[in-house]
C-alpha cells in the first residue's frame, strides 16, 4: 500500500463519525453563531444582517442579567456541596462497613432515576399544605410556607434537588479512584501513627485531585446546563428568581420565538463554559498529581 492510500483509508474510516459530529455538533454551533448576527425572521420579513445588535440588546436585558446572577448563585450553591458530599459518601462506602453494596446502590439511585420523575417527587416534597416538608414543619409547629412559590426559597429548593442528584453521580468517580488506591498506603500510614483525618488530608485527597478536577469541570458544566428541573418545578418563577441561563434561552427561543436573540444568548453561554473549562484545567492542572 502506498502512502496516499494509507491516508485515504484512514480518512475513510473516520468519515462516518466525523460526518455525524459535523452534522449535529459543529454545523449547529457555527449556524448559531451565524444567526446571532441577524435579526429574527418573521412572517413576510426576511432575516437581515444586524451585526452585534443582538448582543447590545443583551447588555440592556435585565432578565438576562438576572438569569446570569441566578446561575452564579446556583453554581456556587451546588458545586462545592455536591462534590464534598460525593467525596464523603465515597470514602464512607469504600471503608469496611456492613451493607456496603446496599449503600452504594442507595447513593447512586438519584442518578439513575429519570430527571422528570425526580422533579415530580421533589415537587410533592415542596407542595404547600400537604407536601412532605410542610407536614414536617407543621409538626414542629412552624408556620406554613410556600417553598417553591416564595422568592426567598425557590432557588434554594432547586439547589437542594441538584445536590441530591449530582452527589451520587460524582461519588461513583471518587469510589472508582479510591478502589484503585493500594490499601498498603493506609497501612503504612497507620503504622506511622497517622490518624484518619491526617491520612485523608495528606494522602487520599491529593491523590484524588485528578478525579476532583474531572468532577469539578463536569459540575460546572452541569450547573450551567440545568433546564428540566426548572421546566417541571418552577418554570423560572416566581419573578424569574429561578430562571437560569439555559432555561432563559429556552424561553426566548421556544416561547417568544426570538431565535436570533436565543442564538446570541447561546453563544455567550458556550463561550462562558469554554472559558471556565480551560481556566480550570490550566489553573488546577499544575497542582494535580497524575499517576
Amino acid at each position: 500500500m502506498n502512502k496516499y492510500s494509507v491516508h485515504i483509508h484512514g480518512w475513510l474510516l473516520l468519515l462516518p463519525a466525523a460526518a455525524l459530529l459535523a452534522l449535529f455538533t459543529h454545523f449547529p454551533a457555527v449556524a448559531t453563531l451565524y444567526h446571532s448576527f441577524f435579526s429574527n425572521p418573521r412572517k413576510g420579513r426576511e432575516a437581515a444582517w444586524v451585526g452585534l445588535e443582538n448582543y447590545r440588546v443583551m447588555i440592556d436585558d435585565p432578565v438576562f442579567w438576572q438569569s446570569f446572577a441566578n446561575n452564579l448563585w446556583f453554581a456556587l450553591g451546588t458545586i462545592p456541596l455536591s462534590i464534598a458530599l460525593a467525596l464523603l459518601m465515597a470514602v464512607w462506602v469504600n471503608g469496611r462497613i456492613a451493607g456496603k453494596a446496599f449503600l452504594r446502590i442507595a447513593f447512586f439511585t438519584p442518578t439513575v432515576l429519570p430527571m422528570i420523575a425526580v422533579a415530580n417527587i421533589w415537587l410533592f416534597f415542596y407542595t404547600p399544605q400537604y407536601g412532605l416538608l410542610e407536614q414536617l414543619t407543621s409538626l414542629a409547629g412552624l408556620p406554613s410556607h410556600n417553598w417553591l412559590g416564595s422568592r426567598d426559597t425557590a432557588l434554594a429548593c432547586l439547589v437542594v434537588v441538584t445536590i441530591w442528584k449530582e452527589a451520587g453521580f460524582f461519588m461513583i468517580f471518587y469510589l472508582a479512584a479510591l478502589q484503585g488506591m493500594s490499601p498498603n498506603l493506609a497501612e503504612a500510614a497507620a503504622i506511622e501513627g497517622a490518624g484518619r483525618w491526617y491520612f485523608f488530608r495528606r494522602v487520599t485527597f491529593p491523590l484524588l485531585m485528578p478525579t476532583t478536577l474531572f468532577v469539578l469541570v463536569n459540575a460546572v458544566i452541569n450547573s450551567f446546563r440545568l433546564v428540566d428541573h426548572i421546566v417541571v418545578m418552577t418554570r423560572g418563577g416566581p419573578d424569574n428568581v429561578t430562571s437560569l441561563l439555559l432555561y432563559y434561552i429556552y424561553d426566548v427561543g421556544f416561547k417568544f420565538w426570538d431565535l436570533a436573540y436565543a442564538s446570541a444568548l447561546t453563544m455567550v453561554l458556550l463561550a462562558l463554559l469554554g472559558l471556565l473549562a480551560i481556566g480550570q484545567f490550566v489553573f488546577l492542572d499544575k497542582r494535580t498529581h497524575y499517576q
Binding site: 498506603l185 497501612e187 500510614a189 506511622e192 501513627g193 497517622a194 491523590l207
Partner: protein
C-alpha cells in the same frame, strides 16, 4: 532492643485458616526469617505482629509488653511492604519524613535524621524526586529509608526484594543484613526464597499451611531437616528423597536388590541425601546415568537406581556419557531417614542400624 514473642497465635477467616497455633521467639537484635511456600501464612503472621490484622486467638509480645490489643502505631515497629507503599504524590524526602511529621518531631531533628538516612542509603541526590521517577531499586531504598528513620527497635519486612532483578537482589540482601546489624534492630523478614533465608537469617522459621514446620538456625535447617517438607525446601537442587524397601541384608533402594543402605528395615522409609553429598565412586550403589546438565562450576547428573531418581551435583565437568552405568556413594553422616507416611525425621532408625551415634 526488643524481643518478639508470638504465643499460640491463630488467625481464621471465614474461608481460610491462614495461621494455626503458631509460636516462636525472636531474640532482641536477631534476624528472623519467615520462610515458606506461597499461601502458607507468612504475610498474615507478619501482619498479626504489626497489628494490621487482629488475632483470632493467642498473644503477641514485643519487648516484653503484650501488644495483642494495641494498634500498629503503638507497637513501636516499622514495616517495609512488598509493594513499597510509597506515597506517589510526595517527594522522596517527604516520603521518608512522613512518620516524623505525623509524630510532630522538631524540624531541626527531622533534617538531621533525613540527612543521616539519605546518606546511609545513598539517596542524597534523589530527595526531590517523586517515586515514579525512581528505579525499582531506588524505590526499595526509599521504603527502607522510611523504616529506618523511625529508629524503632523492631522492623518487619514482607518480601521487600521480590520486585528486583537477581543482581540487585543479591546486593540488597547484603545491605539489609548489614544495616540490621549496624542498627541492632530485631528483624522479622518474610520471604519464599530459601537463598534469601539461608544467607540473611540468624533463625529461620519454616511455615507450612499455617503451622511452624521447623524453627532452627540456617545451618541446622540444612543439616538436620525435621521433615521431608523441610528437606525439600532448602537447597538447590533440593535433597533427594528416595523410597526404600526391605532387602535381604537390610534396607535397599526401591527396585534394587544389591547395595545395602543401612542394616535394618527399609519398607515405609525414605532416604534423604543432598545432591552435593553424593560422589561418583568405583564401587557403591549401582545406577544408570540418564542426563547431565553442565553449569560451569559444577554439573548436575540425573541418575536412576531401581525405580528412584537421584540428582548428583559433581564438581566441574563430568566426562561420562548419558546411558552409561555409574556407582554412587555418600558419607554416612549425609544420610537422613524419614518416615514415608508422616514425613517425620527418624534418626532412631539409623541409631538402631548402628550408622549414627
Amino acid at each position: 532492643m526488643s524481643a518478639i514473642s508470638v504465643q499460640q497465635v491463630s488467625k481464621h477467616w471465614a474461608a481460610a485458616r491462614a495461621v494455626e497455633d503458631i509460636s516462636f521467639e525472636a531474640e532482641a537484635g536477631a534476624f528472623v526469617v519467615l520462610l515458606g511456600p506461597s499461601g502458607c501464612g507468612k504475610s498474615t503472621t507478619l501482619r498479626l505482629i504489626a497489628g494490621l490484622e487482629s488475632v483470632t486467638s493467642g498473644r503477641v509480645l514485643i519487648g516484653g509488653v503484650d501488644v495483642t490489643a494495641l494498634p500498629p502505631s503503638k507497637r513501636r515497629i516499622s514495616m517495609v511492604f512488598q509493594s513499597y507503599a510509597l506515597f506517589p504524590h510526595l517527594s522522596v524526602a517527604e516520603n521518608i519524613l512522613f512518620g516524623l511529621k505525623v509524630r510532630k518531631v522538631a524540624a531541626a531533628e527531622q533534617r538531621l535524621r533525613l540527612a543521616k538516612t539519605a546518606e546511609t542509603l545513598g539517596l542524597a541526590q534523589l530527595l526531590e524526586r517523586k517515586p515514579s521517577q525512581l528505579s525499582g531499586g531506588q524505590q526499595q531504598r526509599v521504603a527502607l529509608g522510611r523504616a529506618i528513620i523511625a529508629e524503632t527497635q523492631v522492623c518487619l519486612m514482607d518480601e521487600p526484594l521480590s520486585n528486583l532483578d537477581a543482581q540487585l537482589r543479591h546486593d540488597m540482601r547484603r545491605e539489609i543484613r548489614a544495616l540490621q546489624q549496624a542498627l541492632g534492630v530485631t528483624m522479622i523478614y518474610v520471604t519464599h526464597d530459601q537463598t534469601e533465608a539461608m544467607s540473611m537469617a540468624d533463625r529461620v522459621i519454616l511455615l507450612r499451611a499455617g503451622r511452624v514446620e521447623q524453627d532452627a538456625a540456617p545451618a541446622d535447617l540444612y543439616a538436620r531437616p525435621a521433615s521431608v517438607f523441610a528437606a525439600r525446601f532448602i537447597g538447590t537442587p533440593p535433597m533427594n528423597i528416595i523410597a526404600l524397601a526391605d532387602g535381604a541384608q537390610g534396607a535397599v533402594i526401591k527396585g534394587t536388590q544389591e547395595g545395602v543402605v543401612y542394616r535394618g528395615p527399609g519398607g515405609g522409609m525414605l532416604l534423604g541425601v543432598r545432591p552435593e553429598d553424593i560422589q561418583l565412586v568405583e564401587s557403591g550403589v549401582a545406577a544408570k546415568l540418564e542426563a547431565i546438565e553442565y553449569l560451569g562450576a559444577d554439573s548436575i547428573l540425573v541418575c536412576k537406581a531401581g525405580t528412584e531418581t537421584l540428582i548428583v551435583r559433581a564438581q566441574g565437568k563430568v566426562a561420562r556419557a548419558p546411558g552409561t552405568a555409574v556407582q554412587l556413594a555418600w558419607p554416612r553422616e549425609a544420610m537422613h531417614i524419614f518416615e514415608a507416611a508422616s514425613g517425620a525425621r527418624r534418626d532412631d532408625v539409623l541409631v538402631a542400624a548402628g550408622v549414627a551415634a
